[in-house]
Structures are given as structure tokens and as C-alpha cells.
Symmetry: C2
Subunit: 636 residues, 2 copies
């Protein structure tokens, strides 16, 4: 029976209903101050003692009364008797009665039971006054303040040994779904045929703990009755309950029913994407969420509702950093639904550019690889090219700024370079955004990137990269560094069951193909080959099915989703596939002349030219490294 969402409400309205339902935590913990990092105060804290609590020496030396030293000068050294006129003190010692200044140990000559000085002291010289740091009774922290490490030092220095802090809220996460397998219980090799790895629950426990919850995970729950029993029990003991997933409209989506039977469903369905089928309800006054199964949706839903709920429970804001950035491309979005985009950020000339990552809720890696999130409100049709927008950061700005970014065509060599870069320079990263050669060259031409990887054959000159870059980047001075020659060819399964022997077999009616995306060098090569052979695109079964990497094509061929596709030799070896060579091509790195002078580029070039890099490429196989690291062309 197909269920319906109860309704679809706006995310702000949904959040308002969540917060209305729940009261801030009232319980307090009373803890030693030095164990209170990141906890939240429930009361203002006032200094118990002054710091320092008495007048004390600020230096190692001798305490005296300044009045007794007035006669001393360079020509007339003055002797003070120890333990009557002067007293040895170390930093922090209370000033002995009758003294009001300290002479530094370095400025004194010792002579038996005397010290000799050659200049007078002044009143309160090198003396710390009582309360100079903190005065007894000062308010040190207000209520509802998150305690930082440095705050703890200040509190201890003022005699505050224990603190009242708000109890940490608890959250219970219940993974549900018969397709799920627990990766820590099933032998690894049995997962693939059986189902999908439950990683959401482990992820959500961590996401929750990271912001300050105590997070707990239940076993995977399959049956509705068991779910009801566990949710019922949990509503006695946890502050927040999350059921993941079963919030959609499938035949095994019990979450709404369970909440409805045990309590009240307050909303089901939010006009946001990802995260639309979010459920919220209350059981015994406890907030219960049903959040979607796709991990991107689950995290989005968590950030949208459970993060603000945490702030509300704790009466303390979480830190979220934002940055202003520019959209290099137009990004359309549907009116009437709020969309949360994952983006990679690139810093160039003090500006940040946002490159949207795959938008599907099923692509979790694009969330893990994202630098930030951008919200497209429901009342607009997306963002225009060059529009300036706000991005919530998932990675620190300095991290992003310290990374070297490459936009363009993907190759395994980029992963090898990244690994080498992080080994030699742990504080640098090499981030590549895979948009294909042509889009990379366009971004390069626009000035958004200084580095672009490309392998584009010119149809007429039959030369790689140089003609096309000359054509599209006429005005910026650039140079082209050769990374490697690599062989492109047809992938087939090991036993080649369809007996494919060359490009002409692709058009056979019993052969299915998987293509690469428009603008990729491989697609350009493929289309040229078709043209040369006079093969009609429409005759190819799967011409319209596009993948955006060599490895994606290889997996589809290996799993018999397609019979063949074009990719580089290297992936054929990695995935144990047959390979029918079609062409050798140059995979090159395009760099602006300006950035070529930058120390970061020089590091990268050193890596490219290293023996280790060439060796690792040869190990992977399918690469010719004879010219690796050579400057192929300089323009302007």
C-alpha cells in the first residue's frame, strides 16, 4: 500500500515546530573545572579569590622598601642587609611585611649577608598587586557560555574548582531496514551479495558526538514490532531519538506508523532536497525523528533540525563558519523546494569559487569530499553565473587555501601525486575537480584556476592539447607540462564473451556500450573515431549513458551492466579486464606562467619529475613516462 507524506512544509516552519516541542535541558552536572572543556555553564561564575591573592613578587630577586634604596647610584653602591633590609624572593612569593618593591636578581651583587645595588628602586617596582589579574567577585563567565580551554585556566586561577554545567543531551540512533548489513558483524566478503552497509548509524553517532551529544547506536532493527518496542523504551531514557530510515513511502517504512501509535506525528515531509522525507514527532514529550536513508539526506536532515535542536537544548550556539564565494557556472534549481548543494571551494586571488559536486542524494562521497554547503532557497530558480553567495564551511578556510587545485580531466596519476604531496608536505593537499578537459580549459581561460589537466586531440592537426589550448586561451600566458602518454582502448570482460575486436563492433545490436561525458577528452576521442569509421551514433546501444571517470566505466563493464566502454589501459589492469588499444594520447598539465613561478607549483613539478612518480605510474601500467615532466609548449 502506497503511503503519502502527511504534508510538505517549509524547513523554517518545520524547525519552529521542533523547537516549540522541546524544552532546554534543566539538569546540571557539577564537575571539576579542568574536566569542563566544551561544556556549557548554567549559572554565571564569579571569582572566589583575587589573582594574585596577595601582593607578590613579579620577578626573582630581593624585596625591599624603595625608601631604603634612594641613595644608591652607579658611583655609590649601596649595601642592604639580608633578612632585615632585603629579603630573597622568587616570582610569586608574597612580599614580606614592610617591603614595597623588588630588585631583580640580575641587578644585584651578593656579598656575604648583604646585597649591593647601584640604582634606587621605585615604589611597587616588579611587584604584582593583589587582584591585578582577577578581582574577587568579578564575573568570569556568564550563564550559557561554552567553556574553552583558556576559560578553564582563568576559572582555576580565581579559585573555581568546580562548575555547574548543563548535562550533555543524549541521542539514540536506530538503524532500520532489511537491506542493511552491519559491517562489524558480517564477514566482509559477504556484504556485496547481501545488502548495503549500514554506515549511517555509525556516521550519525559521530556527527552527534562531534557537536556535543552523547551518542548511542542500537542494533539494526528490521521488524515493525521490534522498532516500536525499541523506540518506546528509548523514549524513557534518551533526550532525542532518531530512526534511520523508514521515513519514506516504501512498503517497509514503518517509522511514521510507529511514532503515530506511540505518540504524535508533528510533520512528515519538508520541502527541502536532500532530506525531504523527514518525519518529526513526540513520544512522552521526547522528540523523535525519522530521517531518510540516503546518507546525504540523513546528514542534511541532521544539520537542518538536530543541530539547532542541540543548540536549543543546551542554550548555547554551535560554531559554524561561513565564507562568501562565487558561482562560476549557472546552477538551476526547482522553485518551491529548498536545495542544499555540496561544493568544492577554490581560492584564487583572495576570492573563493564554488564548484558544485554531484547533486544526487545517493552520492555520499561528494559530501565527504565537499568543502562546504550552499543553500538555494525555495523561492528562487537557482544561482546565476558569477553570483556571490554564502557557503557554510565543512573544512577550514586555511585548509582550503593551503590546497593546490586542479580542474579538468581525471587520471589515476592525480591520486598518486596527491598521495606523494601529502607525504612530503603534510600541510598541503592536492585537490582535483573532475569536469573533463574542455570544461577545465574554460575555467582556466576564465581565470578561475591556474592548473588544468587535459587530453584533447585536435581533429585536423592530430596533435594533443596544444592546438585546443591555443584556440581557447589566446590571451593568458601559459605553459604545458607533459605528465604521461597513456593508451586508450576498449574495455571488455576477461573472456570477451561478445568477441569484440575493435571500434566497429560497438554498433552491433548485441553489444551494449557505456559512454563518457560530453567535454571529456575520452568522449572527444571516441566521437572522432566514430567519425573516421563512419559509425552512426544512433546505432550504439548506450551512447547516451554517460559516466564521468575511467574507473566508473571499468566497473560497469566488469559487472556486465555494459559490454564495453572506452578507458585507459591502467584501469583495465586494475579491474582485470580485457583491453583493445585504440589510441595513444598525451595527458598534460596546463599552468599559467604566473603560477609556474609559484613555489607550490615548483613542488608539484618536482613531484612529477621524480623517479618515484614515474615508477609508480609504470607499476600501475599502461603509461609511457619517457617525456614525463617536460615542458612541451610555452605560450606568450
Amino acid at each position: 500500500m502506497a503511503k503519502r507524506y502527511l504534508e510538505t512544509i517549509k524547513s523554517e516552519e518545520a524547525l519552529r515546530r521542533v523547537l516549540d516541542q522541546v524544552r532546554p535541558i534543566q539538569d546540571e552536572d557539577y564537575l571539576p573545572t579542568h574536566l569542563c572543556r566544551d561544556r556549557v555553564t548554567t549559572r554565571p561564575t564569579f571569582a572566589k579569590y583575587s589573582n594574585p591573592p596577595f601582593v607578590c613578587s613579579a620577578m626573582d630577586g630581593y624585596a625591599t622598601s624603595f625608601a631604603k634604596t634612594l641613595e644608591a647610584d652607579l658611583m655609590n653602591p649601596l649595601a642592604l642587609n639580608l633578612n632585615s633590609d632585603a629579603f630573597a624572593v622568587n616570582t610569586g612569593d608574597p612580599l614580606p611585611r614592610g617591603t614595597d618593591s623588588v630588585i631583580m636578581v640580575e641587578e644585584v651583587e651578593r656579598a656575604e649577608e648583604k646585597i649591593v645595588i647601584r640604582k634606587p628602586a621605585y615604589l611597587w617596582q616588579h611587584v604584582r598587586m593583589i587582584g591585578e589579574d582577577i578581582v574577587e567577585g568579578d564575573m568570569l563567565l556568564p550563564a550559557n557560555q561554552k567553556i574553552r580551554t583558556l576559560d578553564m585556566g582563568m576559572l582555576l586561577s580565581a579559585g573555581i574548582t568546580h562548575l555547574h554545567v548543563r548535562r550533555k543531551p543524549t541521542v539514540f540512533i536506530i538503524p532500520t531496514g532489511k537491506e542493511l548489513v552491519d559491517i562489524y558483524k558480517e564477514p566482509a566478503h559477504e556484504i556485496a551479495p547481501k545488502g548495503l552497509i549500514d554506515f549511517n548509524s555509525y556516521l550519525l553517532v559521530n556527527v552527534a558526538e562531534e557537536i556535543g551529544f552523547s551518542g548511542y547506536r542500537s542494533q539494526i532493527v528490521i521488524a515493525k514490532e521490534e522498532l516500536a518496542r525499541i523506540v518506546d523504551e528509548a523514549s524513557h531514557s534518551y533526550d532525542v531519538i532518531i530512526v534511520n530510515a523508514g521515513s519514506s513511502a516504501g512498503s517497509e517504512d514503518f517509522t511514521e506508523a510507529v511514532i503515530g501509535e506511540l505518540g504524535t506525528v508533528i510533520f512528515h515531509g519538508v520541502s527541502m532536497m536532500p532530506g525531504k522525507p523527514t518525519i518529526f514527532g513526540a513520544i512522552r514529550g521526547k522528540p523523535v525523528f525519522g530521517i531518510p536513508g540516503y546518507p546525504v539526506s540523513a546528514v542534511t536532515s541532521f544539520k537542518k533540525f538536530i543541530e539547532p535542536l542541540y543548540e536549543h537544548l543546551m542554550m548555547a550556539p554551535l560554531v559554524r563558519e561561513h565564507v562568501s564565494c562565487i558561482m562560476p557556472y549557472k546552477v538551476p534549481s526547482r522553485i518551491g523546494i529548498e536545495e542544499i548543494l555540496r561544493v568544492n571551494l577554490m581560492k584564487k586571488d583572495r576570492k573563493f569559487y564554488a564548484f558544485p559536486l554531484p547533486r544526487g542524494a545517493s552520492i555520499f562521497s561528494s559530501l565527504a569530499r565537499a568543502d562546504g554547503l550552499i543553500t538555494i532557497p525555495e523561492n528562487i530558480e537557482g544561482y546565476e553565473e558569477d553570483e556571490e553567495i554564502t557557503c557554510e564551511l565543512l573544512r577550514s578556510k586555511e585548509d582550503i587555501g593551503n590546497s593546490t587545485h586542479i580542474i579538468g580531466s581525471h587520471d589515476l596519476s592525480l591520486e598518486i601525486l596527491r598521495d606523494m604531496m601529502k607525504r612530503k608536505f603534510p600541510d598541503r593537499d592536492l585537490i582535483s575537480t573532475h569536469v573533463g578537459s574542455l570544461s577545465g580549459i574554460m575555467a582556466f581561460q576564465k581565470g578561475i584556476t591556474d592548473l588544468c589537466t587535459t587530453h584533447v586531440l585536435d581533429e585536423y592537426e592530430k596533435v594533443y592539447n596544444i592546438p585546443v589550448v591555443k584556440k581557447y586561451v589566446p590571451h593568458r600566458p601559459w605553459l604545458l607540462v607533459h605528465i604521461a602518454r597513456r593508451t586508450q582502448g576498449l574495455l571488455v570482460r576477461r573472456d570477451n564473451p561478445k568477441a569484440i575486436t575493435g571500434i566497429s563492433d560497438i554498433a552491433r545490436s548485441d553489444v551494449t556500450f557505456v559512454n563518457r561525458q560530453v567535454g571529456s577528452g575520452t568522449r572527444i576521442l571516441f566521437d572522432l573515431l566514430l567519425k573516421e569509421k563512419g559509425i552512426d551514433r544512433d546505432s550504439i546501444r548506450g551512447y547516451d549513458r554517460e559516466e564521468s571517470s575511467h574507473t566508473a566505466v571499468a566497473v560497469l563493464v566488469r559487472e556486465a551492466v555494459a559490454d564495453t566502454g572506452i578507458a585507459i589501459n591502467a584501469v583495465a589492469r586494475i579491474f582485470s579486464l580485457g583491453f583493445i588499444p585504440l589510441a595513444e594520447e598525451d595527458y598534460d598539465l596546463l599552468v599559467t606562467k604566473e603560477f609556474a613561478e609559484n613555489e607550490r607549483f615548483k613542488c608539484l613539478l618536482d613531484l612529477i619529475r621524480s623517479e618515484e612518480f614515474k615508477e609508480r605510474l609504470r607499476e600501475v601500467g599502461g603509461y609511457n613516462t619517457d617525456g614525463t615532466g617536460k615542458i612541451k609548449y610555452v605560450n606568450g
Copy 2:
């Protein structure tokens, strides 16, 4: 015997010697992935499985072969037989053999063992391809990468249940000094007469744990032999040893000698402030630091040497956020020494302004209250007014931006307002920078602040605030909100041992006085009173001793460091002092007309006008709240 520093070297040279001495951690831990948050990888990680590991349904619905659906349209519904032509699937279920597309449950009518559809499916409709998220063999993380929560999700989804991560480095912190008392061991009331609270060691353990060390603390060590024994033992088992303090030149500063006897001293003395007397050496190849006793110096030394050492040990950078800011005043600094300034930051019109906090190494609260640190390099004489500089943040930019800043004169009412603000609006803070009335008005006039607290009497008109603000802020439209009337007077000890009865007694030769800083309203009032009474400043013992708050004056009088001083009635009550009234004054809040329209100001004004605020002021005592919250004057 006075010891000397071995030398004084630059901080970069010192850091180079530290890093040269120590190798990155070689040991690995092998841990479940979901317990690896914030750990650092030692090897690149490659996907074990593709995600999804098989072709599966992207929706709840029915899997079919698109070829069987081509005839369906709105007018000609098509029936498909369940379990032969179509198969019920939930999201994530593998696609049954022979199917290649999924029809959403919402688009289907069920009829007994059939489903009825009204439009055709297309190839791969609502299907997740194998590896669409992650392809087996993809490099997920390089070596030397700190693992974030989202990374853990990605790793688990690709079948990575366990990870090799670098062992956490350990640090052992040894508090030393006979003036120290352990606040958790001594009864609280015995601390003040006995010594100084050891809070450094608790603080340093937390500072170390915060960045990723496992931190351990020893008991307080007093004797040299015991220190040597403990350091010797620790050098067998910890990665880093910190002795705090004993690094200076006092008679009980054993640290250098202990390191020298057990190993090698590599440097002692760095040309930086705070943090100059830092020692570094090696015992059995283990790095050993002697860091200064003043907690500001200890933290500075830690940040300068032990943070980069951690990065070096772990081969992973720490995140430090920086912001560009403007110095509103000239800040001089000595050539030849690097100085680290603590500053409060204020955001105004998208710019940040840095207000230096007290520079003494003994004022720890100014580190705890700081928003950031600014380094003045050793080769310049400080920063000019309006110079743009870089600040390392100690608090998040958004936190700072969300705070309301007041610059000017200090009053207890500001603490009450802060507490009320944080209770009602936990995500907002009220930060006041105490520079005195006149400096506050100058900052207001310069446009750096929108809010200024002031109590300045005009000498001729005998009116508070209005004449002086009119004079100094002629061009910006502003208004003046009355906070309270308060009584200023002389503080004396309870029994008034010097029998002080009025302002004339201040000039007596047996009376010592403590003054307020130039530019404060209280100082202006005091100087006017002296003028009226014809009292000569030079006849006052302590006229030149300046304190910057009412409470600081009160503590000095109570502790008999001075006999009297001027402050408000409220502090006399809090500190149980005698009070001789001198004048009533208006404590007012100056605000720009523009900011008066801002929602944040309206919240603040609501708080000022609330009954709770007036009541809390009356509880403190010494305030007249009749006109509290009234607009006294509007200019422009």
C-alpha cells in the same frame, strides 16, 4: 647564585632546532573506522568495495525492464504481472535479474497480482549503478590526512572497517615551584595565605589534549632531586616532557640544570615576549621543554613550539584561523624582540578592529578574554594607527560577529546586562572593552564603535555626558540612554583606621591613595574635586598609582595596600568597605542613531528597561534607577 640565559635566539631558529631534534611518530594504531575521528592516516586508503556494491533501486517501487513498458500512456494503462514482469523493491534492494529500471511506488496502481502504469519507464530509470558513489580501488584518503566525521562515513561505505592511524603522541606536564598549591588538595580557604594556585598544569594538559596529544600531569614537584628523578623516568615513556616553570633565573630554577645533567640543553632563552625564558633540550632523544611560569608565557611558549612540534610528530597540520584586522591605536613595541599581543576584536561594517588587552605576562585573564593573538615581529617598532595586520583567532569569527561590543567606562551594570543577554539570547554576547569614558568617546567619534558607556562631568556646565559628547562628536547623529545614577565616594577600610572624613584628608602625609587611570570619568571627577578644594596633586601619596576599575581600587584598599581611593558605592558594599560619598553621577550609554534602529540595540534597550535589571541594580546597591532606560538626549 644568579644564573644567566645561555643565549637568546630568534623564535624561528629555536623552532628549527626543536623540529630538527625530533622524528615524526612511527608507530601505528589499528582501529575501527568509526572510532578514528580526528586521528591521522599513516597510509593511503583505497575503497575495498564499490558503493553501491551492485546495481540497485534508487526508489521504493517496482523493478522492471523498460522495454516492457513502452506501450503505456495516460489513455492506455498497462498492466505488468508481479514477480514475472515487475518486482516490488525498496530503496537499496538489488535489481532482480532481467530488470533495468524502477517505477516509483507513487506512480503505480496496484491491482491484485499486477501493477498498472500510465507512462513508460526509460532505461536505468531510478536505478543506482554499481559504483555510482565510490568505485572499488578509488583512493579515499591519502596518507597524513586528519579524519573527519564525514570521511568516516565514506570509508565505512566502501567497506573499510579498520584503519591504520598514527599513534597519538603523549605529553607529560610537571608543575614545579615551592610557591604552588594544588587547588584540588588544599582546603580552599588556605590557599590565599600559602601560595599561588597551580592552574598552569591543568591548563596545559587541556591545551595539549585539545590539539590531539594525550596529556598527563604529575604532582607538584619542589626539590631538584625529585624533579631530576621524575624527568628521567618520564623520558622513557613519554614523547614530550614539559617542566613548568623553573625556567627563569631564580634561586629555585633547576630546570636547565636537570636537563643538562640528564641530557643536552639545546637552547635557553628566546627573543620573544611573553615566553622569553623558554628552555629546550633532549634526554634520550626525547624533547624536554622548560616553559615559563606566568601562564600567559606558558601558553605562548606552548603555541610557539609545542603546537608545531605536534604537527611535526603527527605529519598533519592543525587548523588555525586568521583574520585581517585594523589597529585603531598606535601600538609601540621594542625592536629586537618578537611580541605576542592579546587583542579583543570588534566587527564593524565588515571590518575587524583589534583592541590590545593588558600586555603583562601575569595577566592571564586577558588571554582568556582575548579574541585573538597578534605577533609584532622583532624587526619593527610596533604597529601604526590604522595599520592592517593579521590576527590568529582564539574565538570563531562568527562568535565575534554575533557579539555586541561596548567600549568605554566600566560599571557592574555591564556584567548584569551580559548575564541577562546570554540568558535570553544564548547565541549573543555583550563584550565590553574598558578604556575609560574619554577613550570610548574617541573610538565612538572615529566610527569604530556604535556603543560607548560614559560618565564625564563638564567642568563649567556641571552636567554629565551631554556637553562632552556634543563637543567631541559633533558630526555623527547619536543619542544618549540613561543607565543609572550612582554615587562616587572615598573607600576606606571598615574601621576607618586613618579617620578619613572627606577629600581634604587625602593630602595628609599618613594617608596613601590609589588613583584611577587618565581619561576615566572617575579620574576627571577626582581632578575637578581637587581643583575645587585647591589641593595640590603632588601632596597626594599614590596619585601616580593608577588602576583601571572600581573593583581593583576596592581590593587595594581592603588589603591595606592603600588607605583610600575613589569608587562607586556598589563596590564598597560588595567588598565590605566604608564609604564617604562625594558626588552623584550619570552613567549613560551613547549610541549612534543608525545602530539605535538595529534589532540588537533594541534587545539591549529592552534589557535595560526591564524590571529585572533595575531590581538587580538595586540589589547590588548604590544605584538610583529612577531614570533607567530613558532617552536623555538626541543629537542630529
